[in-house]
């Protein structure tokens, strides 16, 4: 089985009168077909940028600087914007955006918005698109009666389901879900997570979950990537990460997030994430790290610990 391979991906923002913001700075990981990976980190750690970069949707002045992205062995970076748009985006990799209220246009009906990818990507007629849209709604547990409703008439959970139905409309292989449960209440969060798990099993899609919430990740992810200041600081199978976290930052996250479904928040790591326009020279977590040693003045390497577990920390190098 193929899957998604990302190697050394760098995506920066280039504001007019400031140094570039290195939001994603050398990220490598692999997502095997049918599996799932969870990216966890505080807001501003670059995980949303990573998702947008994979779909080539970085808002100006953002740009992919370097790195390789391969889907089933095919280099995606070599594709032109037109090719990428036609054959990859939404068809093979699609995304559930953060904040479903803003991701749905307030002035079009649900049906219209669901039909759009079917019409523009697959060239279906309006009638066919409507039929498939109703199916897509039913697939996420909603009724076809929503077709002629407007987003403001729906609850938050329903909107998130619509968003998921929309992302799955073209049967992609990979679904990137950016904070799919934020701003939903606990019960609805659980329902959405169950839906994602269910869809993964039924449709065999790979899921890349971006969240700040370790509790959410534990529900779905086979593997976990902990992101800090634009870098992956620890990567490995979820059970290993949960049972024996290595990186001081991961440990901090674990301590701050007791494993209660949903309602946990990251807190209590002292200090703030660095300014990504001017990150620390050595380890980016160094200034906040309680276990820092003199070696941390230099950038730490990614250390292989075996069993697919690796960590970016001098304590293990």
């Amino acid at each position: 089985m193929g899957g998604l391979e990302v190697e050394g991906l760098r995506a920066y923002y280039f504001p007019a009168d400031r140094p570039p913001i290195r939001a994603v700075d050398g990220v490598s990981f692999e997502l095997k077909g049918g599996s799932s990976i969870g990216f966890v980190g505080e807001s501003g750690c670059g995980k949303s940028t990573l998702g947008l970069a994979l779909l080539r949707l970085l808002p100006s002045p953002g740009r992919i600087v370097s790195g390789a992205v391969r889907l089933d062995g095919v280099d995606l970076m070599g594709l032109t914007e037109g090719e990428f748009g036609r054959s990859i985006r939404w068809r093979r990799i699609s995304m559930v955006f953060q904040g479903a209220m803003n991701a749905l246009s307030p002035v079009y009906t649900i049906g219209h918005q669901l039909s759009e990818p079917l019409i523009y990507r697959l060239g279906l007629s309006k009638g066919e698109a409507r039929r498939l849209s109703i199916e897509a709604l039913e697939e996420v547990g909603l009724g076809g009666d929503l077709m002629d409703r407007y987003p403001h008439e729906l609850s938050g959970g329903m909107r998130q389901r619509v968003m998921i139905a929309m992302a799955l409309a073209l049967r992609p292989e990979i679904l990137i879900a950016d904070e799919p449960t934020t701003a939903l209440d606990v019960i609805v969060q659980a329902q959405i997570l169950n839906l994602l798990k269910d869809l993964r099993e039924r449709l065999g899609i790979s899921i890349m979950l971006l969240t700040h919430d370790l509790g959410v990740i534990s529900e779905i992810a086979d593997a976990i990537a902990v992101m800090y200041a634009g870098e992956i600081v620890e990567l490995g199978p979820s059970d290993l990460i949960y049972s024996s976290p290595k990186h001081p930052y991961t440990k901090g996250l674990m301590a701050a997030a007791p494993r209660i479904r949903g309602g946990s928040k990251i807190a209590s790591i002292p200090g703030h994430p660095p300014d990504l326009g001017n990150p620390p020279k050595g380890c980016r977590f160094g200034p906040r790290c309680s276990a820092a040693i003199p070696a941390c003045e230099r950038p730490p390497p990614m250390v292989e610990l075996g069993a697919g577990h690796s960590v970016r920390c001098w304590l293990y190098g």
Partner: protein, 350 residues
């Protein structure tokens, strides 16, 4: 049901504001209008009596004649209900009701083309021309402004965007009537392409009149559109720059919606409700400004009529026109409210 309630509430509001406008107009004009009206009646009566030689012959003493004239004047004043001061509730009420039912009475001096002195007729004669000129101008301005504003929003920060913004700032600070004067100077005096006066020199009954009117309309129309679209483009651009940053635009792009449809479909569609409101207000606003613009170009519409009425202090015409322009203004706001509701599904429920 909710819509009906909304409409009724709006209509009541409108009626209340109209009543206030009429009362305010009378409060502002009242004292001077009364004095002018009484003087006019006295003059009219005196001339009438003095022309009647037979009647004058009956009076031996000029003093007696004078007394007779005075009593006649007094009689007419009281028969017209002018005995009470302008602020007496009875007079205010009768006038307010009459004005609100579009009965503006007879003009003092201004006459319609057919010689009519009925203020409503005179206003109705000029109204279509103002609607023709300013309606066309607003429509063209809005279309041009929306297209250019959307294009600028899409390329925010580009040279096109900067040019549009610069032009908007410049054209917004230029008084339209002044540009009108310069346009006459350039196109009528120097280049001799368009006539300097926008009033066709032939009577409205002439079959060639509509064509002549259109030809005479070209210069004011050109001036208004070229001075107006910049401000529109600026507003549309700012609205759309905001809209284009919304997540749903990114989603639409990701879904494969073509750029043109994103811009003119999704983004413009979301910006439509405020744009429609702007358009309604711009239309009524340009009716307000019509007075000056029509005076510059000598366009035979409501504005010029207003201008003439002010010059002659023809109070019934002034009252009628003020009422009509308030009515037009309020109707546009009313329509804008309804359109907003139709265009924005979030409001529709009411």
């Amino acid at each position: 049901m909710a819509l009906k309630g909304f409409l009724i509430q709006r209509a009541l509001n409108m009626a209340a504001i109209l009543l206030i406008t009429v009362l305010l107009t009378m409060a502002i004009l009242g004292p001077s209008a009364d004095a002018i009206l009484k003087r006019a009646i006295e003059q009219e009566t005196r001339t009438e009596i003095l022309q009647n030689k037979e009647l004058v012959g009956k009076f031996k003493d000029p003093g007696e004649l004078e007394d007779y004239v005075k009593s006649q004047v007094q009689g007419r004043i009281s028969s017209m209900g002018l005995n009470d001061p302008w602020y007496s509730p009875k007079r205010l009420w009768t006038i307010a009701i009459r004005v609100m039912t579009l009965d503006f009475g007879q003009s003092y001096y201004i006459r319609g083309y057919g010689g009519s002195s009925n203020v409503r007729d005179i206003i109705l004669e000029s109204l279509p021309r103002t609607v023709l000129l300013f309606g066309t101008a607003t429509l063209l301005t809005a279309i041009l402004g929306i297209l250019i504003g959307a294009a600028a929003a899409k390329r925010a920060g580009s040279l096109l965007d900067k040019i549009v913004m610069g032009y908007a700032a410049i054209s917004n600070s230029f008084p339209l009537w002044w540009i009108g004067m310069l346009a006459i100077l350039l196109f009528s005096y120097t280049l001799r392409i368009f006539p300097a006066r926008a009033t066709p020199p032939i009577p409205p009954a002439d079959p060639a009149y509509p064509a002549a009117l259109l030809y005479h309309m070209a210069l004011p129309l050109l001036t208004m559109v070229s001075m107006g679209f910049g401000g529109w483009a600026y507003m549309v651009r700012n609205l759309m720059v905001g809209m284009l940053q919304e997540d749903y635009i990114m989603v639409a792009r990701a879904k494969g919606v073509p750029e043109g449809r994103i811009l003119y479909g999704h983004a413009l569609r979301s910006a439509a409700p405020p744009i429609v409101t702007m358009m309604a207000l711009a239309l009524s606003g340009s009716f307000g400004g019509a007075m000056i613009t029509e005076a510059v170009f000598d366009w035979p519409g409501l504005g010029r009529l207003y201008w003439e009425a002010i010059g002659l202090l023809d109070v019934p015409v002034i009252v009628g026109l003020t009422y009509v322009s308030t009515l037009v203004f309020l109707l546009s706001v009313f329509m804008a409210d309804i359109l907003y509701g139709i265009l924005d599904p979030r409001i529709r429920i009411g």
